[in-house]
């Protein structure tokens, strides 16, 4: 009897995606697929019940993740993924609510919601894809575009100072803050797992190639070239003050886990207050 090699026809993550929605809309060389699969691997390795996960996105390329994952998933309005997710989380406290969106969506039009959800320490996992530009609309500059970078609306180079998102999130009160590039798939997956298990506001910035919107005008090259750039320029510095987590245009990319602290989440604090004032089992 000859040895039978089992041929797997299914990818282990297939059960977490809406196959019928493929092919996806992302460009060749885009990092979003890696970011999404890192998230799905994290869910799989934690053996979480898919019924207990909700994904909320805003608008933009990253916002499309909600449409590809087989969880309860909500593709909302530009900038409003976090407040939508806040409402959903408070209505369904036992669910893990993940916000998957881009830097423009979360830090520009939705910037106010980002800092206030972090301040409240709402138990959400934010996966913020930073590709340094507005990709969906064809490559305009945004709140993370490096000084000097060219985009379709900074033809002479960007003269606005960008946000350091990890520093912003940490300052606003996030209890878990990390930054990885899509080259750091293992670290990214581990971080997403930690964030999913964290009771509080977690923020993971994912540096991701955008060869069409950002790579081409800035002569970075194809997605692969950008990954090579990440490999040559990334420095892992876990535990440093996020304000020192440099993210330069042509130079160093500091990645790592910067914040992992314990602080009662919004719901926990709310319940403690109500229990104390109104007695246990209030409102039952």
């Amino acid at each position: 009897m000859s040895a039978v090699t089992e041929v797997k026809t299914r990818h282990p993550l297939d059960r977490y995606i809406r196959e019928e929605r493929f092919p996806h809309i992302w460009c060749p060389g885009c990092g979003l697929g890696i970011a999404m699969s890192s998230f799905l691997y994290a869910v799989d390795e934690l053996d979480l019940d898919p019924k207990e996960i909700a994904v909320v996105s805003g608008i933009g390329c990253s916002g499309r993740v909600a449409g590809y994952v087989r969880f309860d998933s909500y593709h909302t309005t530009h900038g409003r993924a976090i407040p939508f997710a806040t409402g959903l989380k408070l209505a369904k406290p036992h669910m893990k609510v993940v916000v998957f969106s881009g830097d423009g969506d979360l830090a520009s039009i939705g910037g106010n919601h980002l800092i206030h959800a972090a301040r409240r320490n709402v138990d959400l996992t934010i996966i913020c894809i930073n590709n340094f530009n507005y990709g969906m609309t064809g490559g305009q500059f945004g709140p993370t575009t490096p000084l000097g970078a060219k985009t379709t609306t900074t033809p002479y180079g960007n003269f606005e100072h960008p946000f350091n998102l990890v520093y912003l999130a940490a300052s606003a009160g996030a209890v878990y803050v990390a930054r990885w590039t899509v080259l750091h798939t293992y670290h990214l997956r581990q971080s997403i797992k930690e964030a999913l298990l964290k009771d509080g506001f977690s923020f993971i910035e994912v540096i991701s190639p955008c060869p069409i919107g950002f790579g081409r005008p800035n002569k970075i090259g194809e997605g692969l070239e950008e990954m090579k750039f990440y490999r040559e320029n990334s420095v892992i510095r876990n535990g440093i003050d996020p304000k020192d987590a440099e993210l330069s245009f042509r130079g160093k990319i500091v990645v790592g886990k910067f914040v992992d602290i314990e602080k009662p989440s919004y719901l926990k604090t709310l319940r403690d207050f109500y229990d104390r004032i109104l007695g246990e089992n209030h409102g039952s």
Partner: protein
């Protein structure tokens, strides 16, 4: 002392508080808001009462967030409301469109004040009628109730939730500062006497259920998050699975249904009160606080032998166009009294053959329209 959700009894109470109590009685257990005059008392009451009934009060960073949060909460299966006034309502409009498109039940209270812009924060206005109708971008239908008493701040809030749940739509309670800040009698009935409608749950098991497949009612059953249906909802034009589909054909199909689900039920949704209309030659049309002055003016006119009547709009949207067309066959003149420059008057004119048969009694906000100001018009000779 913890109190129940339905505070059965008689009260001498503020209109804004009555609205909050109506929401709780309807089953609202999530309130997200941002302070704004003259709607703040609704938030204040909710912040006090929600913990008593096991609900959530959250004060968001702005009205954009408040509106997004109530949609999120409702997707989680919890009845949700926000309350605001003109400036905040302007900020909520984009996500009101999202609730229309995703078909998420929720209630938005707008206690109108003098406007535009910051306008008259503490004084009455009725200038957001057309904004409530058309404020979000694109073609859609909306339901808006206009309470004219503290009792109606309660009753119509309950009704707003029922309509929202039944048709899977955002419903607007278009109140005004005078009603919101009015203190008068409120009777809250026993819980068992309240009619409460909840969204229809999926009739098919996961795998077969399609989130946007509707029967003849045009209202699809709704699966909430966490129930194992793995729904996808988007503001993009979508098919019955909820998946984006970017074609004119799909858009036509979806938007046609969203519009028709309201239009085909308009007769069930539309409500108005008729006073002395049977033999009326001249009919006052009014809503909200102004309807109270209109009622007095009609009574005074009758005392002078003028055959006046009142059509009080309880729903301003959908507009009772059939009623207006019917009245136009036998009435000489319509007088539309409202604290704006004629937003409903123009709507009435659309259903009356000659615009000169429609007279407006208008103020810009700040002051109420008095009974005498309406009576003066009722006493003028008919334009016929």
């Amino acid at each position: 002392m913890k109190r129940p959700a339905v505070l059965t009894g008689e009260y001498f109470i503020l209109g804004d508080y009555a609205c909050a109590e109506g929401a709780l009685a309807a089953g609202c257990r999530f309130f997200a808001g941002y302070p704004i005059t003259p709607a703040t008392e609704i938030a204040e009451r909710m912040s006090y009462r929600m913990p008593e009934v096991g609900g959530i009060y959250i004060q968001m960073e702005d009205e954009l967030a408040s509106m997004a949060a109530i949609i999120g909460a409702s997707c989680g299966g919890v009845k949700a409301m926000t309350a605001t006034s003109g400036p905040g309502f302007s900020l909520m409009l984009e996500n009101i469109g999202l609730a229309v498109m995703m078909e998420v039940p929720c209630v938005v209270v707008n206690v109108q004040r003098g406007a535009p812009s910051t306008g008259l924060p503490t004084l009455v206005g009725q200038g957001d009628v057309m904004q409530a109708r058309w404020g979000s971008h694109g073609d859609y239908e909306i339901v808006a109730y206009a309470p004219s008493s503290v009792q109606e701040m309660f009753d119509l809030t309950v009704k707003a939730f029922n309509t929202a749940e039944r048709y899977r739509i955002p419903v607007i309670l278009l109140a005004d500062e005078a009603v919101g800040h009015l203190t008068e009698k409120l009777v809250i009935p026993p819980e068992e006497e309240l009619t409460i409608i909840n969204r229809m749950p999926p009739q098919d098991p996961p795998g077969e259920y399609l989130p946007y497949r509707a029967d003849d009612s045009l209202v699809p059953p709704m699966a909430n998050a966490g129930e194992g249906y793995f729904v996808h909802m988007t503001g993009l034009t979508h098919d019955e699975r909820g998946y984006p589909i970017i074609t004119g054909e799909a858009h036509e199909k979806l938007i046609r249904r969203l519009i028709q689900k309201i239009r085909s039920h308009a007769d069930e949704i539309i409500e108005y009160e008729e006073v002395e209309l049977d033999d009326a030659d001249i009919v006052v049309i009014a809503y909200g606080i102004t309807a109270r002055a209109a009622l007095r003016a009609v009574r005074d006119a009758r005392a002078q032998g003028i055959k006046a009547g009142l059509l009080r709009l309880i729903t301003v949207w959908p507009f009772p166009e059939k009623k207006i067309q019917d009245l136009a066959q036998r009435v000489d003149t319509f007088v539309v009294a409202e604290i704006n420059q004629g937003q409903i008057r123009r709507e009435v004119e659309r259903f009356v053959d000659r615009p000169d048969r429609v007279i407006g009694v208008n103020k810009l906000g700040g002051d109420l329209i008095t009974p005498n100001e309406i009576l003066e018009v009722l006493c003028q000779p008919s334009p016929k």
